[in-house]
Every structure is written in structure tokens, then in C-alpha cells.
Amino acid sequence: MSTAEDTPPTGTATATAQTTPETTAPETTAPETTAPETTAPETTKPGMTASRGGGTAPGGGATVVAAGPRRAPGLVSVAETRSTAERRPVEPAPAAGRPPAAPQRRAGAFWRLLGSELALTFRRPRNLLMLAVLAVVPVVVGIGLRLVGAPDDDLSGMIAAVAGNSLMLTFAAFSFLVLLLMPVTVSVVAGDALAGEAGGGTLRYLLAAPAGRTRLLAVKYLNAAVYAYAATAVVALSALVTGLVLFPAGPVTLLSGTTITMAEGLLRIALAVGYVGAAMSALAAVALAMSAFTEVSIGAIAATVVLVVLCQVLRAVPALDAVAPYLLPTWFMKFDAVLRSPVDWAALGEGLRAFGAYVVLFGSIAWARFSGKDITS
């Protein structure tokens, strides 16, 4: 951007950040900021620290953007977006009534923002192309198996199972796509989420809108999670359709050697989609955290993919077996629990707990970084 030269060094940025509260403080009339003590940990939420300067002066919230003249163009400092973050139309004091209106409007804004993010994500040719690639892989594999494998040959387990039943192609497709291709796809979208906006210079416009950093982060994460589920569903659907066209339909043989009806098999595919989607959403949290640290989206994407590959390498070393349960990709493959009889709910639950832990941990890292970051581009 052309403003890059004008951007002051970080030291100046911090100085600006510290001077802005005086100008921005008056607008904070949100109910929570009226708390008199602002040093307690819970008051460090974005938007609340802005009341450090006082918060007693009346009204004028909409005028915050017009900061002091010392402000360098192109710089959106922490303190400012924190205050703009929670900026919303000035409400009368709670005594004046209609308090429920605000949360509703806030929620509406959140879903509108998410909607526009989703529309952007799913309209972007790159993202659609990646989904198309994911959809093509099961088709290619299915055709390959159909051409190569005659069912009477000595085929190893999974291939024989696929050749024997149409539904098994879905699980086979998951079992190799989940190793690298799906993580890469999800990393591209989630890793681009913040870094891409920062690099393109659009992040400060997003923050200038009354979105708030925490809410923007939540929207970005939900957007990535939805894309993760979409990618999973695309793989499942493509594999299912390919399987039904190429291979015989009918009762499904599970890994335990038990046979279940086709309807139940479809149910188990749905379970697997839910689990793998959660796995990819957990990876999206990692990519989003990476994304908060850089303005070069390819950096965040590459970092996440390298992490995934590194984990796969660590898992392959027998001496490091003890580490494996703590690595995220270890849990990706555990969707095979739905192919056992009875369904191994314990394994699925354990996997989901691991995903939850990763989402919370990396979500909080992303928040800590993003909510305190000066946007300099």
C-alpha cells in the first residue's frame, strides 16, 4: 500500500495508542464499561479498557474515527479499534428503557457479518477450485479401483471393501485425504483469514466498521469452520455418488466383520462427516492463530501445513509414540471408530475432546495476539 512509507515505527504507534484514549473515551457508554474499576482482568476485554480515561463525559460515540491530528494515515492503533470495536449507536441510560434492543441488533450484525464473510469465501474462485479438487480425488480413486481391481483377486482389506460396497469409498477417500489434502485446503482459507485482510489493507476497514476485534475473530473462525465442514461434505458426497455409480450397493461390512444395512451405513457416513469436519475445524483454529501473527497470508498457510507434515513425521517415528496422543493429526484418522461394531464412542469422544482443546487453546492465542495488535497496513 502507498501508506506503508507513512507508517510510523512501532514505538510511535504505541505512543499514539496511549494518547488516543483521551479522545476516544467519551463514546464508551456501553453498560459494561460503566464499571468503576478497570484494572481487574475481566475488564481487559476489547472495548472496555477504553474507559481507562474516564468514561463519564457524555455522548458523541460516532465521532471517534476523527482522531487527533498527530495520527499517521494508515495506522489503526490498538486503543482506537478497541473503542470503535464496541461502538454502537448511543443509547440512553438504562433508566430510559429499551435495553433489549441492543443485544438483538448486535447479534443481527454478527450474523450479517458472518453471512457476508461466507459469501466472500464461497464466491472466491480459489476456494471453489480447492473444493473441486477435493471432489475430483474420490472420483479418480473410484475409477482407478474399478479398472484395476477385479473383486476375485487377492485384494488387501480396504480396496476389497471398496470394491465390494459403494459406501466404503467414502471412508477410503477420507482415510487418505485427511492426511494432507484436506488440511491444506482448510489451512489456505483459515490462514488467509486475518493475514490476507491485513496484507491487502482491508483489515482496518473491517475494524472501522462496528464489528469489534473479538467478534471479527469469531466470525473469521466460524467462517473457516463452515468451510471445513463444506470441504468434508464435498468429499463425502463426491465419494458417495462415485461409489453408488461404480460399485454395488447393499449391506455394508464393517471392520469388525459385522454387516449393517445400507441406511445404517449412510448414518455412519454422516457420523464420519461430523467427526472429520470437527477435526478440520480444529486445524482451522491453528491456522487462524498463525494468521494473527503475520500480514503475509502465505506465511500463515505454510506454517500450518508444515506443522501438519511435521506432526505426521513425528507420528511415524516409533520412539516418539508417547508424544502422538498430543498431536492433532493423530486424531484425524480416528473416524474409523464409526466403522466398528459397536461404534467406538469412547474413541470419538476422546478425539472430539482433543479438537475442543485445540480450538480453545489456539483460539485464545489468536485472540490474545489479534486483540492487541496494531494494524499498520
Partner: protein
């Protein structure tokens, strides 16, 4: 750095510590919050109760997950890790998990889940099925027991003449010479309160610090066995339930019909034949060995001394190698790896190679003897001097 930044980064740190605590606290809580739920018992009482409970109605129907972990400190063996999930060798390192459903004495299902595969053993009445998903093969095994030979009930010695109390008292008295036995009533295995029988060798030279056998506090079913080596806090070998429920498992666990498209094989296992042939084969060799083998020391510090020759062993390994047992680890390579890890020792008895693991020490002497025992290297060297 602003204070706000510090406080903000406090959140991820807090989250990380909560997750770390959740992962790490389980065993710690179990160990620390040792409120004895179970009444105190002496070792004799406990064993008597366990025997009585088992004799009354057999083992209660149950299902659960059994985990086996071994960190024996073996020299790094090539192919050990690749020896496949079903190879017995693979059990010597790392951690393995099987699921167990137990309905009655003749109803049992054992499943070994591996990534995208599963091996099952299903016993229902006289019918035994073995299912391997990776080869898509179901094997029906018919076990022919020798005529007139009833299902072997593991009889306890002099069972008829003794009450369980007397029996255990005798056993404990006999053990007393080399072993200290005590009972811990605060243990918890798979979330269930359990008694732990702690067996501690009295011999200084033993590598075994203690053996802990956990018995369920309610049903007296053995839930866990742990072997601790001296000088390590984690058990060197452990097998036990990580999850267990004492409710009869669903009937469909024990019914197996080979799925369509699977290869079905029949195999008859004639116990009489099997045992007979094996015994014949082995007695010949065993006689040879037994004549020359001897045991030095007694109790926990006993050392077995067997004559052998390294060349024979290598030749045998090569022979096996040539016959090409499919899927087995290359014996020659393993032998080489073991010998490479051995340290040379010598004394007035001669010289040899010492192989140390956490639980077992093996000494190959140059004069053609092999000494093995769960003892310290000093002890085994001492034993080598005893002619």
C-alpha cells in the same frame, strides 16, 4: 510491554494450564486423593476372598479396554516396530490396546483395533471365529479336545483339602522367605476402587523393585498387573484395564456370521495332536538342555545358566531367514542388533557380552554359556563364576 498485553496473554496461558492439568491431573488425583474407599484387608484375607469369589460363580460378565505398555529398555531392534500389530514381538515395545467383551466362560470377544483395520477373536460355545479385516478373511476354528479330557479347569493345588484361607496362608508363608507382600486399599484402576497386592522382592540383587497386582474391590477380578524395575518410577511392564464395566455385554458381540464376499477358512485345532506333537518335539530338546542347564541362586535372584554357542544361534537364525517366514522380523538382523548393544565384560571366570534391559540381564560368555535372570549385572557376573 503494556500491562494489558501481559494480561491478555494470560488467557492462552490459563487455557494451556487448564488443558495440561486436565491431561496430567487424572493419575495425580487418583494417587493423591487416596481416601480408602475399601476396608483394610490383609494379604491373606484378600486372596482368600478373591479365591472364594472366583470359585463361586466364575468371573463376572464384563467388557472393557485392556492396554498393555512395555518399556523394557530393550536395545533398539530393527523391524520391531514394523513387525505388524499381530506379531508377538511387537508387544515388547510401545503400547497396545485391545477391547474385551466377556459374557460367560464360553462367550468371549477380543478385538484389536488398528488404523482402518480390526482383528477379532469371537468365542461362542464351541464355535471360534477369527476375523481379520485387512485380509478380509474369516477363519472358523474347531477345537477338538482329546476324548475323555474335560475342559481344563485351572485347579489350585490341594484345593480339595483346604479352605481358601488355609491355602492362601500356606502360599504366603512359602513366599515370605524371599518376598514381602502387602496390600494397598487406596488404588484405583479404570475408575474403580481396587486393592493392590504389592509384592516386593527382598533380594538386593533383583532388578524387580515390586510387582503390583490390582484386584477389583467389588468383584475381585484382576484389573491390572504392573512390574516396576529398580530405579524407574514408571512400570517397565503393565497390562490392565483402562476402562471396564461389569454389565453383561450385548449378545450381538458374540454372534459372528462371515460377511458376504469374505474368504472363509476352516481350521481344526486338535488339542491332543497339537499338544502331543509339540511335546514330543520339545521333550527331546528340553532333555538335552535340561541336563546341562542349571539354576544359580534362588528366589528372585535366580539365574538360569544354559549352554549355547553363538555360531549355532546365528546358523539357526540364518536358516530361518532362508526359509523366509513371511512378515516376521529378520532374525539375523535382530541378533546382530542385540549383540551390537552388548557390553563386553570379563572376570576371573572368563569374558563375555552383557545385555542389559530394565528387567532382565543376559550374559553370553565366551566359553559357551548363556546366563539370564532378573538380576543386576553384578549378580549375573557373580553367577558366572559359579561353576
Amino acid at each position: 510491554m503494556r500491562r494489558g498485553t501481559l494480561v491478555r496473554w494470560g488467557l492462552p496461558v490459563a487455557v494451556a494450564s487448564v488443558i495440561g492439568a486436565a491431561i496430567g491431573a487424572g493419575p495425580v488425583i487418583a494417587a493423591v486423593s487416596g481416601d480408602p474407599v475399601l476396608p483394610e484387608r490383609s494379604a491373606a484375607q484378600l486372596l482368600a476372598d478373591a479365591t472364594a469369589a472366583t470359585q463361586k460363580g466364575g468371573i463376572a460378565p464384563m467388557s472393557g479396554t485392556v492396554q498393555q505398555t512395555a518399556s523394557l529398555g530393550l536395545p533398539a531392534l530393527p523391524q520391531l516396530s514394523q513387525a505388524g500389530g499381530s506379531s508377538p514381538l511387537s508387544l515388547l515395545s510401545g503400547s497396545h490396546e485391545v477391547k474385551v467383551w466377556y459374557g460367560a466362560a464360553d462367550k468371549l470377544r477380543v478385538a484389536m483395533p488398528t488404523q482402518m483395520n480390526e482383528t477379532n477373536l469371537i468365542v461362542n460355545g464351541g464355535q471360534v471365529w477369527y476375523w481379520e479385516s485387512d485380509t478380509n478373511t474369516a477363519t472358523r476354528m474347531t477345537v477338538k479336545t482329546p476324548a475323555g479330557h474335560k475342559r481344563p479347569v485351572p485347579p489350585l493345588p490341594e484345593q480339595a483339602a483346604l479352605t481358601p484361607q488355609q491355602l492362601t496362608e500356606q502360599l504366603l508363608a512359602r513366599a515370605d522367605e524371599h518376598t514381602a507382600v502387602r496390600v494397598v486399599n487406596t488404588a484405583e484402576v479404570a475408575g474403580r476402587p481396587a486393592y493392590q497386592l504389592v509384592i516386593t522382592p527382598k533380594d538386593e540383587g533383583s532388578l524387580v523393585r515390586e510387582v503390583r497386582i490390582a484386584l477389583d474391590g467389588e468383584t475381585y477380578v484382576p484389573l491390572q498387573v504392573q512390574v516396576y524395575a529398580k530405579g524407574s518410577a514408571e512400570p517397565a511392564f503393565q497390562v490392565g484395564f483402562t476402562q471396564v464395566t461389569f454389565t453383561p455385554p450385548a449378545e450381538e458381540n458374540f454372534t459372528f456370521t462371515p460377511p458376504a464376499g469374505a474368504k472363509v477358512e476352516e481350521r481344526t485345532i486338535d488339542l491332543a495332536d497339537l499338544v502331543g506333537r509339540r511335546v514330543e518335539e520339545r521333550t527331546e530338546r528340553a532333555k538335552d538342555v535340561a541336563e546341562q542347564a542349571k539354576v544359580v541362586g534362588e528366589g528372585w535372584s535366580a539365574v538360569a545358566v544354559v549352554p549355547f554357542s553363538l555360531d549355532d544361534l546365528s546358523a539357526e537364525a540364518r536358516g530361518k531367514d532362508a526359509s523366509g517366514a513371511r512378515g516376521d522380523a529378520d532374525p539375523q538382523a535382530m541378533l546382530d542388533a542385540v549383540l551390537k548393544s552388548a557390553t563386553p565384560v570379563s572376570g576371573d571366570w572368563g569374558s563375555g557380552k552383557l545385555i542389559r534391559t530394565k528387567l532382565v540381564t543376559v550374559l553370553l560368555t565366551d566359553d559357551g554359556r548363556i546366563l539370564a535372570g532378573a538380576v543386576t549385572p553384578d549378580e549375573i557376573v557373580k553367577a558366572a563364576g559359579v561353576k
